[in-house]
């Protein structure tokens, strides 16, 4: 094709006046809006906080009601169900935890009885389990979009380790968090996943979309207010509890510093809460501090940082939030180190237990 050779109009095609084009588009949008009202409402809720989201959420909520009453949402509903994705449009705002999960606020520490002289106080030593090719570590990696690339690198690096069995592909859910369960409900999703996959260790990151106030059902707590902190801590503790509910261990991956200083401040606050909750479970939860890892020598955000070999690498994505491939490698290294703190991965099987004849005189058995 050379210059000025633009596609010509097919004479068989009928044209229409601009006014009809406008009305045609208006009809198309109106029909599509009514048919897709449920999905649009969910999308509206996933937008960044602010006036725009509030307006969109209100308008689409009304639209969804009208569409539901008139049953106009049925074609989409039936089509989604036929695709096996009938739950796509379901909005769940429940923030509940299993009764076994302790989300109660921290009790003040009990006064410790002074140890008797000459009797040293022994801190409880967490048992570090060993996994082997016979007894593989069931590994699960999930979280918001920040886990996407690091999870893949972790899985790739552990691919040749015979003591590890990933129970699923990396399971990121972009644009989700703990503040807006209407967008994606981690509080109902995680218990289901943990029950189904039964991981020995879960790598989890959350918070990239949580730098906002609570809205809607939970009230209007401003980001960073005491009420916000209390509720966010409760949710972090609840999720952490769900991840450990079946005895699994957790690598809780913190949030990195961001290019936007205001966002970085917000993420620092969330990191503080997440870190302090993780500290309550030594040997069960390890918190990975990435905020400092992604600072340059002057303590500022940097797109380029030296890797393990000292080579300068682009470590962040163009948005100043996510990781580049090299950045994901840095996170993966930190995650693998944290996994190593929690469990032992033995590439060889333990020697088989030698069967011993029970002594007739002994009545006890060793575990």
């Amino acid at each position: 094709m050379t210059d000025h050779e633009l596609p010509e109009q097919d004479p068989r095609r009928r044209t229409m006046p601009a006014g009809h084009v406008l009305f045609g588009i208006f009809i198309a949008f109106a029909v599509a809006a009514l048919l897709n009202a449920q999905g649009m409402h969910k999308t509206a809720l996933s937008q960044s906080p602010g006036f725009g989201r509030d307006v969109a959420a209100t308008l689409t909520a009304g639209l969804a009601d009208v569409s539901g009453i008139l049953q106009i949402d049925q074609p989409r509903h039936l089509f989604k169900a036929a695709l096996g994705r009938g739950d796509d449009d379901v909005i769940s705002t429940k923030v509940v935890f299993a009764p076994t999960v302790n989300t109660a606020p921290n009790k003040p520490a009990q006064p410790v009885k002074p140890a008797k002289p000459n009797q040293p106080v022994k801190p409880a030593k967490p048992v570090k389990p060993t996994f082997s090719p016979q007894n593989k570590l069931r590994l699960y990696l999930t979280g918001d979009s920040l886990i996407t690339d690091p999870a893949s690198v972790v899985l790739d690096r552990l691919a040749d380790n015979p003591a590890v069995k990933p129970v699923a592909n990396a399971d990121p859910h972009a644009a989700t968090g703990l503040i807006q369960p209407a967008v994606f409900n981690w509080f109902t999703y995680l218990p289901k996943q943990i029950a189904e996959l039964n991981p020995d260790l879960t790598v989890f990151t959350i918070g990239a979309n949580d730098g906002q106030g609570f809205t809607g059902v939970t009230g209007g707590e401003e980001f960073g207010s005491p009420a916000w902190k209390t509720e966010y801590r409760r949710r972090v503790a609840g999720v952490m509890g769900e991840l450990m509910a079946k005895g699994g261990r957790v690598v809780w991956v913190g949030l990195p510093i961001t290019r936007d200083p205001d966002l970085a401040k917000r993420w620092a606050l969330m990191n503080e809460i997440q870190k302090s909750e993780a500290a309550k479970y030594p040997g069960k939860v390890v918190y990975v501090n990435l905020f400092d890892r992604f600072k340059d020598a002057k303590g500022n955000y940097a797109d380029y940082l030296p890797d393990a070999s000292g080579q300068q690498q682009l470590v962040r994505a163009p948005d100043g939030i996510h990781y580049s491939a090299a950045g994901a490698g840095i996170v993966a290294t930190a995650i693998l180190k944290a996994i190593d703190e929690l469990v032992t991965l033995s590439t060889t099987n333990p020697p088989p237990a030698v069967p011993t004849k029970p002594k007739t005189t002994t009545t006890t058995t060793s575990p």
């Binding site: 094709m1 050379t2 210059d3 000025h4 050779e5 633009l6 596609p7 097919d10 068989r12 095609r13 009928r14 044209t15 229409m16 006046p17 601009a18 006014g19 009809h20 084009v21 406008l22 009305f23 045609g24 588009i25 208006f26 009809i27 198309a28 949008f29 109106a30 029909v31 599509a32 048919l35 897709n36 999905g39 649009m40 969910k42 509206a44 074609p75 089509f79 695709l83 796509d88 996407t148 893949s152 690198v153 899985l155 790739d156 040749d160 592909n169 990396a170 972009a174 644009a175 290019r259 955000y301 940097a302 380029y304 000292g310 080579q311 300068q312 682009l314 163009p318 948005d319 491939a325």
Partner: protein, 469 residues
């Protein structure tokens, strides 16, 4: 703002009547469209608008100076200022950190301390596209094939929102004359516009997203996937990148058509090509011809000897590769295509001498398509290590289960490949038949089509791959 969003739909509902209502007064119309385009661009980052405005003023100044200059030397000086300014602009935002880190690492290997300094900046969206369009304007003025127009016309040419962020890379001679010959508001080629927008949305929202479900995990963790999954992922990526980019271009062309403007086609069933030369006539057509007219031919094209021609081909393809992103893998991808084109030339020349018949069409297609898919591995990979892992996995993971090859992915690949081979007139005839329907019926049909596309796609909208370029 992204095309497949409610935000854009609302924006367009305002801009469309504004466009047609102001068109009778060209000056007001241009101002209205410039304002709309700047709002569209500012939606990502308001600061980007300053860069776009700066580029507009700079290139307009250079073009006018070239046009007014009497002496060739002055014209040439202004041309170089224009080229250097545009490439410098691109280099600073897109390539500085890449070259700085490469230089620093190379110096480090040699034991030399070097601190070139890194810039902490966001790559402005669409920069590569509008910089190339601005270069066209300056160079065409220098070549005397186009005369500079008023600032408002040029500002609209550069910022016109349908093409602003990811092309097509429109030439001044194609678009600016259309500004001065307003289309007939009673005869809008709307059905074609609707069809192109729906087709583009289907490619992007349904096909590209479905392919990504296999492509992303395989390229991220090659070792965890079987050879079969890897092979299907490589083919799926070919469909994904076509659907993603052709999808955007098609929507852009459709949107422009509803406003009354014609853009050049950007894709023409590229995967039916039987040679790499043909592939580059069908893939990203507006970039290919830009590289041909503003790089390959000025370098000498095929007018000199064999060595010079092959050098020009390789340079053009390598630079074209690097245009896509600041990474050695893009450069290598360009070099692979350059090498392939050179080999094709050799084979053609040999056949001309020996009189040997060309290979059968199906074999040429098979070789070309698989070569293109193989090269895409380097385009998709973040690093050579990752590309090597994927290639290694093509051979070392046989006999393993392939749970990630789902019916959805296979269907997307099949449909993505199938549409390459649809007869061209089928699509035209379909549009002609639909155009006979009353506008209200077309509107209802569009509404249902939007519902199906939305329901088939994932929740949320993934960014377009080509936005990063």
């Amino acid at each position: 703002m992204l095309f497949p969003t409610v935000t854009f739909a609302l924006f367009f509902l305002i801009v469309l009547p504004l466009n047609w209502l102001t068109m009778h007064n060209p000056r007001n119309w241009r101002i209205a469209m410039i304002v709309a385009s700047y709002i569209f661009y500012a939606w990502w980052n308001p600061w980007f608008v300053l860069l776009l405005a700066g580029s507009t003023l700079f290139n307009q100044t250079v073009a006018v100076r070239i046009f007014r200059a009497q002496a060739n030397r002055t014209r040439n000086t202004w041309l170089w200022i224009g080229v250097a300014g545009n490439l410098g602009f691109l280099a600073y935002f897109k390539y500085w950190n890449f070259f700085a880190s490469s230089a620093q690492n190379a110096a480090d290997t040699l034991g030399v301390q070097l601190d070139p300094g890194f810039v902490s900046t966001v790559l402005p969206i669409g920069l590569s596209f509008y910089t190339f369009m601005a270069l066209s304007y300056v160079i065409d003025t220098w070549r005397r094939t186009f005369e500079p127009v008023s600032l408002s016309r040029f500002a609209l040419f550069l910022s016109f929102f349908p093409h602003l962020v990811a092309g097509p890379i429109v030439r001044p001679g194609e678009l600016i004359p259309q500004f001065d010959n307003p289309p007939d508001a009673r005869r809008v080629d709307a059905t074609r516009g609707f069809a192109l927008i729906m087709g583009g949305l289907f490619l992007k929202v349904v096909l590209a997203s479905a392919c990504a479900k296999l492509v992303d995990p395989v390229f991220s963790s090659p070792k965890l996937h079987s050879s079969l999954e890897t092979i299907v992922a490589v083919y799926a990526y070919a469909v994904q990148i076509f659907s993603d980019f052709a999808g955007y271009s098609t929507i852009a062309i459709g949107v422009a058509l509803l406003l009354g403007f014609r853009f050049p086609d950007n894709f023409d069933s590229p995967y039916r090509s039987r040679s790499l030369q043909e592939f580059w006539r069908r893939w990203h057509i507006t970039l290919s011809r830009w590289l041909r007219d503003y790089l390959y031919i000025p370098l000498g094209g095929n007018r000199s000897g064999r060595f010079e021609t092959e050098r020009n081909i390789m340079l053009t393809m390598v630079i074209g590769g690097l245009w896509h992103g600041a990474n050695w893998t893009f450069l290598f991808w360009g070099a692979l295509h350059g090498g392939g084109l050179i080999i094709e030339r050799h084979r053609r020349a040999r056949r001309a001498i020996t009189g040997k018949a060309p290979p059968p069409g199906w074999l040429s297609w098979l070789v070309t398509f698989n070569f293109v898919c193989f090269a895409w591995i380097f385009f998709r990979a973040h690093s050579f290590d990752q590309a090597a892992s994927v290639i290694e996995r093509l051979f070392t993971g046989w006999g393993q289960p392939s749970p990630d090859i789902t019916l959805g992915v296979l269907a997307a690949v099949a449909v993505g490949m199938g549409i390459q081979f649809l007869p061209t007139n089928w699509w035209q005839s379909f549009q002609a038949r639909v155009s006979q329907l009353p506008y209200a019926a077309q509107g209802v049909g569009l509404g249902f089509t939007l519902m199906f596309i939305n329901a088939l796609g994932p929740s949320g909208v993934a960014p377009f791959i080509y936005f990063q370029f």
